[in-house]
Amino acid sequence: MNPGPEEKLLALAGNPNCGKTTLFNAVTGAHQHVGNYPGITVEKKEGFVSLDGRRLRLVDLPGTYSLTAYSLEELVARDFLVQERPSVVINIVDASNLDRNLYLTIQLMELGIPVVIALNMIDAAQSRGIEIDAEELGRRLDLEVVPTVARSGKGKEVLLETVARVASEPREWRPIRISYGPDIDPVLDRMEADILEAGFMIEDFPPRWTALKYLEADEQVLARGDGIDPNLSARLKSRASQVTEHLEKTLASYPEAIIADHRYGFIAALLKDGVVQRTQRGDRLYLSDQLDRVLTNRFFGPVIMMLVLYVVYHFTFDYSEIPVQWLESGFSALGGWVESVLEPGPLRSLLVSGVIDGVGGVMGFVPLILFMFLAIAFLEDTGYLARVAYMLDRVFRTFGLHGSSVMAFIISGGIAGGCAVPGVMATRTLRSSKERVATLLTAPFMNCGAKLPVFAMLIAAFFPGDRPRIMFLLTLLSWTMALLVAKLIRVTILRGPSTPFLLELPPYRLPTFKGLLIHTWERTRQYIQKAGTIILAISIVFWALMSFPGLPESRKASFEAERGAILAVLPAELRESVSDGRMPADLSADLERQWTDARSALDGIDGAEALAALKHSIAGRVGLGLERVTHWCGLDWRTNVALFSGFAAKELIISTLGTSYSMGRPSEDRDLPLSRRLASDPEWSRLKAVAVIIFIMLYAPCIPTVTCIIRESGAWKWGLFSMTFNTLAAFVMAVAVYQGGRWLGLGTGL
């Protein structure tokens, strides 16, 4: 999109944890749009602000410490700056951690792009006894520095005015020149001259910057250079390798390290004598350290962590229960209404069983998902989640994962509830592709918000009164399986070394309400979008699979004949009211008994016909065919059909089970909760319930998750792998439990 004459493009850049997102939210408010950068999965947040009739388009770049080609985030940020060439980059700098934050600033300035610094969290810096002379800093860097407090919105007006002013004075990019010492500088100058002379990539990058990237052996720039001018590129590379050899011999170092040292040296010199003043005071960091002493304590740390996770679990469930019930009854009322206004037939069936049940099943969990994400956002924004990664890294590493994998697991439902779709997306924080793929393949083992209602129903049916304890056991089981499978994957198909950990532990902060809401809403929205799009389409497909082909005419006729036979023996005056189900008010006791008997006989036949139709449908045939294999783990064809539909979306398991078990029963039973129906069904037992739960926990992720896995891993094979491998694992485990249980004599008696 080309910015119009009145629209200015701005970019927001900064380190992780510098308050960038908070500032973005404070400035743009609700006028945000979240999308992806083209072709890749890094989230791209855009917002709009109007200032004096001018429209400012703000793009929130991913949080990065540097502008190397090291991670996807850094590449995205860099490519955006170079290709879109925003009028101004707003560089958010954490005032309480100035020198490390300026490392990125220096790199932005070396690129030459116009920068305005938002010196953020000055309040936090002050409380730590750090005073910064913003004006002096701006003078020394030759750019505007605006003090801000993103949390309260302080300074945002001045920031916007300043940015708008700088943006309205278009200028060429003016890269700063930093000295890299006697070993690097001469070579850098020579390379710069070569580049300038050949006009090598000068439309995109300043020549000196390109030379630096050749010295740093930046893969992306080198590859591009090779494509544009192989000869010059080779010459630059050979110059770079000469320096590298020289530095290796004389200093046992290499250009990249020397360059970084000089950048930090430049920053240190910049801040000396009058920019930063320190007074020793009791400060927030001190408080944060005191908290850490308890929260990451050898003994109390893990105990508190378990406690926190348990509280999150209760919070999610207890508070979401009522709104979930509202939504469920809302959707069933809607279904009832459609049934009352439409004639029976394929259209009604499509609307009720396909659209409303399918989408309603997903939407019904929105409150649960919302509370879960709210709790996670709280843990994340306070800084506690980083401590969880810190404490658990040793454990995760044993299984070939990374401390940050914990995030993906928790979002996928690691505590209770969640969704593998945002969970799989959360693996983006992992940098090594091997750990990342291992995490995104195992995260779907977690008990997501859609599996939980099935478990809850089965537990209510077979282990009444034990729900919290069994749910907790199931959570442990899913973690155990995920970790073991991750280990298995990491020593076989994904063997390789682990990624650097190096995690910042930000000071504890009280999150802002607005920040929490925005954070929660973003993830919930992904979930709702899934319901509105993919699941709607898939529900319709699965509805069709479960409805077609219909019973052949001959069988329909035989059911019709059975019905006719019952009606035929009735007194003539009852026939019509029995067949349309409305009992007349003024019947004698004898007639009323006859009426009721006939009606329930008819219901039985209707049910039998519906069940026969399901069995006859494509889904039913698949379910029946699979029964030959699945009877090993206790699954009958009706459960198979439900599991088959659960592949479309786990939410559909419960509604499909509901459908297949409400078919073929007399009507007074039909309104019984599914759990009571299963509990009284002779085909079901506690052992079968456990086997089914285990199968559901482990088998193929739903289609939306599989699509996500394919997108995030960039390979079809991982999507296919997760479908086949997980189903196989589920089958093996469920067979082991079912057959083991039977061997121990825990059959129907259990």
């Binding site: 410490y65 540097s66 190397t68 090291y70 309480s96 951690n97 100035l98 020198d99 490390r100 490392y103 730590r128 750090i130 290499y254 990249e256 390290a257 970084a260 040292d261 930090y264 960091l285 944060s288 350290d289 850490d292 002493r293 990451t296 304590n297 050898r298 003994f299 740390g301 893990p302 810190y390 404490m391 890294d393 040793r394 454990v395 590493r397 401390g403 990624t499 650097p500 950990f501 190096l502 995690l503 910042e504 532990l505 930000p506 000071p507």
Partner: protein, 80 residues
């Protein structure tokens, strides 16, 4: 003042980074976080399983694994 590996520093101990031997990706990550020669650091503590280690440097807290700390040589004050 003796030089020891970051891994062998005690909780609370202070020192100044003398050398970072890591190269490639790890080296880049370490430098991006500001761990370059001459930087003062202090060990804050260790995770419950003794690994990773948390250090304070440049006004922030950073955690890194012991096998990453092995690449960082630190000049520490003599213990009395």
């Amino acid at each position: 003042m003796p030089t020891i590996l970051l891994r062998h520093m005690q909780a609370g101990q202070k020192g100044i980074i003398e050398r970072v031997r890591a190269t490639g990706e790890l080296g880049r990550r370490i430098r991006d976080m500001g761990l370059v020669p001459g930087t003062p650091i202090q060990v804050q503590g260790r995770a419950p399983l003794k690994d990773p280690v948390a250090i304070r440097t440049r006004d922030f807290t950073l955690s890194l694994r012991n096998n990453e700390a092995d690449f960082i040589e630190v000049m520490v004050e003599e213990e009395s």
